[in-house]
Symmetry: C2
Subunit: 303 residues, 2 copies
């Protein structure tokens, strides 16, 4: 049977070029031409001056594609002249790997390490491992690694605490440094409320998000939907295996009750793993002893 | 990218042999050895004297496998000596095709017709098309086609209304006739109640099933779960695209209220299409504008 080779992985590398179409096309090309890899999305932002690519495919093919794209970014981007609103420290700024069908987080961490070693070796880049791939707890958080950005790298890498996990102990002169990590799929999940009072959405967001006492793997903020005369609790669920869609949804319902406000609907932006939806269906239908293996499409993806 | 070839189909052929392991192995073999086809399940029942195979794979490969298996059944089974509890009219009794990822019902009907023509031509079998593949409304229902069983076939096929859609206008002397059809995936969905009163389960089943005024694509009966001191509404949802899991579940909840009984849980037996679970998750989470294309695994199955 023609099946997809395991293990399958998603990769969402960020590059520091969001304006020059020629360079962007060159960087994206390996994700279009590498057998075993499919380019899903290519978002360039002029204000951020940043390119975010979403691709998926077989693990080793993905390593080859992202390494080839990184080589082009290193050759074509000079961070000394780069300006943009988004924090960044390198031409290829960050490479997160995400497990898909049948792949464990441990396997993704191994892939991140392999890729990190190759980027250091082939491109002379200092590499930091982050999130699930981090080797020190203080490097789990990408924002901490990126503090000081490209301009502060030279000084940062001289500190004993900030020696990179792979590669030279100084920035690449034009390409800076790169963070390579492994993380669960992130779900962008927004819940709309039957009110136009932004303050209510903000208060509910504060109750559900981790930072202010809410759910462990939930980031949230209140947002106004002007055209619809509504407000929204806009969330990122950073680990749906621990903080489920239905949990966030029901908690918002509980908090909204305080204001006499009801939920009008919700949306998922972008991709979502099947397991996240199956889990929520299972919760509401009270499914007992259900296995993902019972889903036809999961069987189609098996070896 | 290594992807599964479209179109993909499930096939659940039934053969009239549930006792002789040698013959069963011979019939099952093409589903194991045909490239592009995977054998998922092989259930033999001695009382029914019947073999039910579940396989999935690429459409044309499936046609080849099921035709090869039918040829073996015709060669190895003599219906003149066949005894079993399950109604049957042929050595290969019924061949339902079910659309999977990305396949339309129209394409499955075309596959059923192609297979029917081949079975008539190669094996000299009279073939009736049923359910979505039926060419006359009175042949939609398999039970009606099978009335009279193998023993009544000779007489039945002499009636002008019962000339087969393909093949000779008389039964195969040892293999009878076969029904070939196209149908949506069937979901076996059971809902357990917090009571041991079987009568309550039966009354609820009567309310939710089509035949006694309930949901169009729902068959249901009350069942006792002796070990758990519970009863169950055991359902077959024969077209989840029209009668959804959550609809049946919520209707049972509504009816159970009449008896002051609550739902303890539910189960899905066997396989279920991803879309059925995604739809239920979407209902309970109030998802707006959600597309199956947003599910990562659906993207993995694309061309």
């Amino acid at each position: 049977m023609d099946t997809i080779k395991r293990p399958m992985v998603e990769c969402v590398p960020n590059f520091s070029e969001g304006r020059n179409g020629e360079i962007i096309a060159q960087i994206a090309e390996p994700f279009k031409t590498t057998p075993g890899v499919r380019l899903l999305d290519c978002q360039q932002d002029e204000d951020h001056n940043r390119l975010v690519i979403t691709a998926m495919g077989e693990a080793q093919a993905m390593r080859a594609a992202v390494t080839a794209a990184a080589a082009r970014a290193v050759a074509l981007i000079d961070m000394n002249t780069h300006r943009g609103q988004h924090p960044r420290m390198g031409a290829v700024d960050v490479i997160p790997f995400v497990p898909l069908a049948g792949m464990t987080m441990a396997a993704v961490v191994a892939l991140a390490e392999e890729t990190a070693a190759e980027l250091a070796e082939r491109l002379d880049l200092p590499v930091f491992l982050y999130e699930a791939a981090a080797r020190r707890p203080e490097r789990k958080n990408l924002a901490v690694i990126r503090q000081g950005e490209f301009e502060g790298l030279f000084q940062k890498l001289q500190q004993p605490d900030w020696q990179p996990d792979f590669g030279p102990h100084r920035p690449h002169p034009t390409a800076g440094a790169v963070a390579v990590g492994a993380r669960p799929p992130l779900i962008a999940f927004n819940v709309n409320l039957h009110t136009d009072d932004l303050e209510i959405a903000r208060k509910i967001a504060a109750k559900v998000r981790h930072i202010s006492g809410g759910l462990r793997h939930c980031k949230a903020m209140g947002v106004e939907l002007k055209n619809r005369h509504m407000v929204q609790v806009s969330m990122n669920l950073t680990d749906y295996t621990q903080t489920a869609l239905y949990t966030a949804f029901e908690l918002i319902r509980v908090e909204a009750r305080r204001y006499g406000v009801s939920i009008s609907g919700s949306e998922i932006v972008g991709l979502v793993p099947m397991a996240a939806l199956v889990e929520s269906a299972g919760y509401y239908l009270g499914l007992e002893n259900f296995s993902l293996n019972q889903v036809m499409e999961a069987r189609l993806l098996e070896d």
